[in-house]
């Protein structure tokens, strides 16, 4: 009854305040309860534990490459020939859709080791060109059979629908013949 007399005027009644407070409190609780339902969708601990992988590169001759797996995605490790390095360095920056030099895409003193994700930046197919005898495309690097994106010998996008160069993951040489990716 007390709030009836308070209501007589205008403005916020005590009851209104209590309503808003109670419903807000419950609302905050409900939102908090949704959090675990959403975070469970992120990669679990065992998937995150796969985030680094060591690769032995001692057997890869110049002109050869291998496909390895990092985070369940293909990684291309390619030992470029001097000719391929020369071709990559000869391209003017102005001709590139995603301008980057070969040096920016490799480690200092290791310009022959081109390590990129084998995932086309258009829609995620695996480009051809790393395996023996595969179509390397018009620019001698990689060629994506899905929609015809062509990459050069520095795995930079040169023609086709892909928006950017093949992604270079974080990696380091732990020894002259071992690379740790991730």
């Amino acid at each position: 009854m007390a709030d009836v007399s308070v209501t007589a005027g205008d403005g916020v009644r005590r009851r209104d305040f209590l309503n808003v407070a109670a419903v807000s409190f419950a609302g905050v609780g409900a939102v908090a309860a949704i959090a675990p339902l959403l975070v469970q969708m992120s990669p679990p601990a065992d998937v995150l534990a796969l985030s680094t992988v060591e690769v032995d590169i001692s057997k890869i001759q110049p002109g050869q490459g291998i496909k390895t797996v990092w985070r369940k995605q293909p990684v291309f490790v390619r030992n470029l020939t001097p000719k391929e390095i020369q071709e990559a360095n000869a391209v003017p920056m102005s001709e590139l859709r995603d301008p980057q030099t070969l040096a920016q895409r490799t480690k200092p003193g290791k310009a022959n080791w081109l390590i990129t994700l084998g995932v086309c930046t258009h829609l995620g197919c695996v480009p051809l060109g790393i395996g023996e005898g595969e179509n390397k495309g018009p620019f001698g690097g990689y060629f994506c059979p899905c929609h015809g994106s062509a990459y050069d010998t520095a795995a930079r996008i040169r023609s086709g629908p892909a928006p950017s160069n093949l992604f270079v993951p974080d990696y380091e040489f732990t020894s002259p013949t071992t690379v740790r990716i991730g």
């Binding site: 109670a22 419950a26 959090a35 675990p36 975070v39 469970q40 969708m41 679990p44 601990a45 065992d46």
Partner: protein, 440 residues
């Protein structure tokens, strides 16, 4: 729309009016759980448990859908996938503990809901179908809970599946082939696990559908109330919203608090350590019992130890199923026209004896199968059947009920009056007209 004074939905906002003319969903909600559903004004806290059961069903479905995103229903992978959920999946431990304890809480609130109905005679005309649909929900819950308990594929899961499907083996002639058909093998294995998973995912949605029927049937006569007296006019009711949404919301908050305490501080208190051992078809755990909510039935199952015309095994299974089937006939077993136990002194006494009996049955069912618990289980099983088949019909025949209030409003006002009167002094002489007659 149970009563003539139920308010019709009047959309104020033009969009809602537009929607209402095309799809009267807001009207349905308003009439079911909004201001358009009049509810007796005197409901006590025991009437909160139906909404709570709905809340826990929702929690089970939501957490279950998420757990199914990570669970593998394979004999080799099931146990490890559950451990993966517990250790590696983000918040997986929380989701699994919520689901496991949510099942227990679902049963706790449902048992209270059922005993509320037993005490206040909620099963009587015109609510017989509400009661029967409720029992159907309860049976579906038991099937769902059992199959869910099998999924982690631990020792208790495996042997639970073995024992429960063994019930069907008790049926004469077709029993054994039926059991093999249910399992898809001679013992629980991949086929059984996969079909249990499939059905465990399906049945909650069947439950939800029967809940809709349960509520629909309830909303025809409207809720019963602690006096058991029919609603007479508008004074006897309050709109569901805001009065009972507020009360249900407040009570749900309190129960969720208790639920959170269990989930966070005692998540395995209601479970069995043996279920953290992977299923081993070659060794049964020394002490095998079902989850606590099946203990009373487990005691009834074990109560038959010697063959009498039929094999003891068959008696046990028949008695266990009969103990629930019996409840379907309750509206016709209890013939007393008075609903509420508040006005039935003899019924009330025996109601509480029944509660004690079921609790003791539960205790007996949870004990190892040694002489004393089995003997106690036999006595309490016999009493359980005697209550419904002998005591209840006799009570409804010979009991003299207390005088009923003339109306819900009358009983409410009467109560307040007595409370405000000084101790030992009869409530004032300024009786409201008609109040005297209500206490004749």
């Amino acid at each position: 729309m149970s009563f003539s004074w139920a308010k019709a939905y009047e959309p104020k906002n033009p969009f809602m009016r537009w929607l209402d003319e095309r799809l009267p969903l807001p009207r349905l909600v308003y009439g079911a759980v909004g201001g358009g559903y009049p509810v007796p004004r005197n409901l006590n806290y025991w009437w909160n448990f139906g909404v709570l059961a709905g809340l826990f069903l929702t929690i089970q479905i939501v957490t279950g859908i998420v757990l199914a995103m990570w669970y593998y229903a394979t004999g080799d992978g099931a146990f490890n996938s559950v451990e993966h959920i517990m250790r590696d999946v983000n918040a997986g431990w929380l989701l699994r503990y919520t689901h496991a304890n949510g099942a227990s809480f679902f049963f706790i609130v449902t048992y209270i809901h059922i005993f509320r109905g037993l005490y206040y005679g909620s099963y009587k005309a015109p609510r017989e179908l509400v009661w029967i649909l409720g029992l159907v929900i309860y049976l579906l819950m038991m099937a769902t809970a059992f199959m869910g308990y099998v999924l982690p594929w631990g020792q208790m899961s495996y042997w639970g599946a073995q024992v429960i499907t063994g019930f069907f083996g008790a049926i004469p002639l077709i029993g054994e082939p039926l059991r093999v058909w249910l399992l898809g093998g001679y013992a629980p294995d991949q086929a059984a696990l996969t079909r249990f998973f499939s059905l465990h995912y399906l049945l909650p949605f069947v439950i939800a559908a029967v809940v809709v029927l349960h509520i629909w049937a309830l909303h025809i006569p409207g809720s019963s109330n602690p006096t058991g007296v029919d609603v007479k006019d508008e004074k006897d009711t309050l709109p569901f919203h805001p009065f009972y949404t507020a009360k249900d919301g407040w009570f749900a908050g309190g129960v969720l608090l208790v639920f959170a305490l269990v989930v966070f501080f005692a998540p395995n208190a209601l479970g069995h350590p043996d279920n953290y051992i992977p299923a081993n078809p070659l060794a049964t755990p020394a002490h095998i019992v079902p989850e606590w909510y099946f203990w009373p039935f487990y005691a009834i199952l074990r109560a038959f130890t010697t063959d009498f015309i039929l094999p003891a095994k068959l008696w046990g299974v028949l008695a266990m199923f009969a103990s629930i089937l019996l409840l379907f006939f309750l509206p016709w077993i209890d013939k007393s026209p008075v609903r509420s136990g508040n006005y039935r002194p003899l019924f009330r006494t025996f109601f509480w004896i029944l509660v004690a009996d079921v609790l003791i049955l539960g205790w007996a069912g949870g004990q190892p199968a040694t002489a004393l618990p089995v003997a106690i289980g036999q006595i309490t099983s016999a009493y359980y059947f005697a209550h419904f088949l002998i005591i209840l019909p006799l009570i409804s025949k010979f009991e003299t009920p207390l005088p009923l209030p003339r109306s819900i409003t009358d009983s409410v006002l009467h109560g307040e009056k007595q409370e405000s009167a000084p101790a030992g002094v009869e409530p004032g002489t300024t009786t409201i007209a008609g109040e005297g007659s209500s206490r004749k």
